[in-house]
Symmetry: C2
Subunit: 400 residues, 2 copies
Amino acid sequence: MVKIAVLGYGTVGSGVVKVIDDNHEEVKNSAGEEVEVKYILDLRDFPGDKHEAQVVHDIEVILNDPEIKVICETMGGIEPAFTFEKRALESGKSVCTSNKELVAAHGPELVELAAKNNVSYLFEASVGGGIPEIRALNDSLKHEKIDSIMGILNGTTNYILTKMEKEGAGFATVLKRAQEKGYAERNPEADIEGYDACRKIAILASLMSGEYVHYEDIYTEGITKITIEDFEYAAKLDMTIKLLGMCKKNDDRFFAIVAPFLVPKDNILASVNNVFNAITVHGNMLGDVMFYGKGAGKEATASAVVADVVDIVRHMDKHICINMNGKKAQLTAKDNAVRQFLVRVSANEADDAKELFGTNITEIENNLGEFAFITDLISEKHFEEKKNTLKTVKGYIRVL
Amino acid sequence: MVKIAVLGYGTVGSGVVKVIDDNHEEVKNSAGEEVEVKYILDLRDFPGDKHEAQVVHDIEVILNDPEIKVICETMGGIEPAFTFEKRALESGKSVCTSNKELVAAHGPELVELAAKNNVSYLFEASVGGGIPEIRALNDSLKHEKIDSIMGILNGTTNYILTKMEKEGAGFATVLKRAQEKGYAERNPEADIEGYDACRKIAILASLMSGEYVHYEDIYTEGITKITIEDFEYAAKLDMTIKLLGMCKKNDDRFFAIVAPFLVPKDNILASVNNVFNAITVHGNMLGDVMFYGKGAGKEATASAVVADVVDIVRHMDKHICINMNGKKAQLTAKDNAVRQFLVRVSANEADDAKELFGTNITEIENNLGEFAFITDLISEKHFEEKKNTLKTVKGYIRVL
């Protein structure tokens, strides 16, 4: 019997307790022994709750109980979660978490701290909700030379983009509906500006590089500028628009970005719709594999936390090695990344645009009184320079 | 340093050696120690080959060498592979294999034999080539109540169906082209009749049930009867046609089938094209997750074998528990499975068809001089009975 504590009895935390309740036998069979929730840390009381008796308000009770071998941190946010996790690891308890903010900000040092104390620090649920891509990167794919990780990492923005495409509705309208349905938060900035996707690709990029990729170093654009007209152009090109987080090998270093991309319809990522997430990984032997599933949701996310608990119980008294360390990774600037762009300017600036971007552009017909075209392959740096000399840019989108 | 032997220096076997050569550092980092190929068993010699010196012709050399801890069986077929694997496990060596025929026929008893000898028997590469879905079922998803596994499990048939859809070419034409390109074998029966997909879903069904699902107990239809006209109907319905293997919980037992299905375009499986494979798993907490990648190919398949080697080295002197045993699973008959069907009969049998299948059918317009319709939900058994009373059935396809 292994006893665990859950920190935070909110959406994910109560999901963890539910998974352990409802799938008690399966958890036991998978872990090799019984798993029991001994404590639930929360500021609130939960009178009448089935687990009322397990609720405690003082972290010291948990940290000082030698019976507790695993702590699930499902509080979210940096503090006090960071302090609690550090103290847990230092007192010889393994930690698993769904807290992407904390993993993106301090994951590598927490992994090192876990190694030092011969315990484990796992965070499957921090990226892609229930999708088991982090464990796959850490075991099934770890012998591959991974040169690209790319994905749809945020369900809210993917839902918004899907509805814009399928229903021809504008960004603001769809966002409002998503908020009403609970698919978007009242303050949706973290999702729609790409910050959430940025934290997730930072975690994946750290795993890919084995170092510490700080999310603040990743160029990030959200989806707020995407319009119905953009989707009309996308349809003409047999493409769709997706907010992608990507990390690619670039000579010896690598490069990460979060931005909306035009994705050809025959790319499997174009078919990932609504709140679903997907992560593609490219290995030198394996080629492309993709992991797809619900990127959020109480039970799916909680299931990933429990998968970590099971992994820790299976490897009790052993540090599960994670390919991450605290050394800060050197990303290459986005300047040198070469790709095509869709650009839209006023019709009267067509000649200037043609002169600037040369003859190898592909014009796209439209009845919007504008000049729209796909550039030839061009570096981000040169594109930026040329774009800035145009006066009437109505929009631009990268092409995958 | 862990020394291994590779049985069979054909496509997959030479791929395994290549992965260990080319990704030597990554394999070492992942396994925690160096992995060296000490022997390669083959009837042939390979003069001039980099690994010429490792080639042996006598299995006894390998079985009697206590240095060999892991054997990769990449010969294929039942014998002598079965005997070699049994003797390896009995002599305390772990085995990993890409041999789906053998795993489908004898996997559960080999897993039991491995457990008895405290070694491991792994077979990631037997289903879905390089896709790491078996390890995921065995670790990340093992605490879920899985009620459905479904997938596109055969690359050759998926390539043929994709080309038929995209190019409007007939089955025979596309098959011929696939054979010329090496995507289909000269004797394509195992693929196009669904036998290969059947073996793979049998393996997945065994993992899902924890028992032994024999492939001969699984109802199997191939794709040889699928026509261009079927794809025209599919397009009208905003669907496509995929050969699916599926295993679903049905009360306390479960039910497996391999057959072509009409798949709605908004189902992610509809977007899995060409030689790619995909496996969706539905868990009670997790919802749907999908694993996607190359279902065949030398290096992708070999990469999965090496992933098993790594897993065994990480857990040396320990049996890696696999949810399978030799007890034969009781499948429910397909009779009770309820679904819709697309049915095509001659125009002059329209009235009879309407009378038989009732008012809740959806007629599909066509200029083929036939009466085509989608039935209401109906059990396989009732459908079969009714279909058999019609005289001019030109085709029928199940609807997912």
